[in-house]
């Protein structure tokens, strides 16, 4: 059973879109992302010399949602937070030179009790568009906050 009853946070933020910035994707960034994740698919890394047309895996959008400053929801619970889950819908190809703009909103906050006790989840949705106003990715992230293990 999940509920948001009794969770103290700033409910005025629910559903409010906030711009989190624009991100220019260089070829170097795309290749760095591919290298760090051990990618070998020529679609993402080019030919054996790293040349040729490439696209970015849509999961590169995660790099830009990670660590962005979002509005503080003033959640009054827990001592430690973790990334609990994420989904990405890939809507269009992302290429070197694309400039992505992103906006995010708080979609949901709910509590759940597991083996380690009560946890509170905050779910954010982030929408990425390219310079042509085409949606390239929708990212949904879930963060959990809980108390430290004793």
């Amino acid at each position: 059973m999940t509920t948001d009853e009794g969770i103290v946070y700033d409910r005025s933020l629910l559903g409010v879109e906030t711009d989190i910035g624009t991100f220019e994707l260089t070829r170097e960034m795309l290749l760095g992302f591919a290298k760090s994740t051990g990618e070998t698919n020529p679609r993402y890394v080019g030919d054996e010399n790293g040349e040729g047309d490439i696209v970015a895996p849509s999961t590169i959008c995660n790099v830009f949602v990670s660590g962005v400053s979002r509005p503080d929801i003033k959640l009054e619970f827990g001592e430690i937070s973790f990334f609990a889950g994420q989904s990405i819908e890939c809507k269009a190809e992302i290429r070197p030179g694309d400039v992505l703009s992103a906006s995010t909103k708080l979609d949901n906050v709910y509590a759940k009790t597991g083996r380690s006790g009560k946890m509170v989840f905050a779910v954010w949705e982030t929408h990425f568009k390219n310079q042509d106003d085409t949606t390239v990715a929708l990212v949904t992230e879930s963060f959990v906050r809980r108390n430290k293990s004793r």
Partner: protein, 144 residues
């Protein structure tokens, strides 16, 4: 990697992978540095920082894990088009430990309206403990 996998070639229950690899400290620093010009100590890059947060060791960032999970699907064939991936982080993922990624086909659009295929994907440690689980939706081309 299969070069030419088509929708007609795939059946429910087909296995994807496995891929075995580890994520080094340098891999994580390179990943983090795509966004941060100067990489600050964090639970992802510093054991000491991770310890201060109650973690036994530095961990792989969640966004990096989802990138690794999606590769199970995109490395299956050059013809795979990833439409969606949804993951749940069940446990933290350590650096420098063997990780196995695999998938299985769970559903296939037989209506003729699309060439979408659904798959379960999982990341396990060397003890077979599931660290990250998820589902993916991909599309493959038709032969015709």
């Amino acid at each position: 990697m299969s070069k030419n996998l088509y929708f007609e070639d795939v059946d429910i229950g087909d296995e994807i992978g496995p891929i075995t690899r580890s994520v080094s400290d340098d891999d994580v620093i390179q990943f983090v540095s795509i966004r941060e010009k100067k990489v600050a100590p964090s639970r992802f890059t510093s054991k000491e920082f991770a310890n201060s947060e109650g973690l036994p060791e530095a961990i792989v960032p969640g966004p990096m894990n989802i990138a690794l999970m999606s590769q199970v699907l995109t490395d299956w064939s050059e013809t795979v088009c990833l439409l969606k991936i949804d993951v749940v982080f069940r446990q933290t993922v350590p650096h420098n430990k063997e990780l196995t990624f695999s998938g299985i086909v769970t559903d296939k659009d037989e209506t003729g309206e699309s060439t979408k295929i659904e798959c379960d994907v999982v990341m396990e440690n060397s003890d077979g403990v599931k660290l990250v689980i998820g589902t993916g939706i991909i599309a493959l081309p038709n032969k015709s």
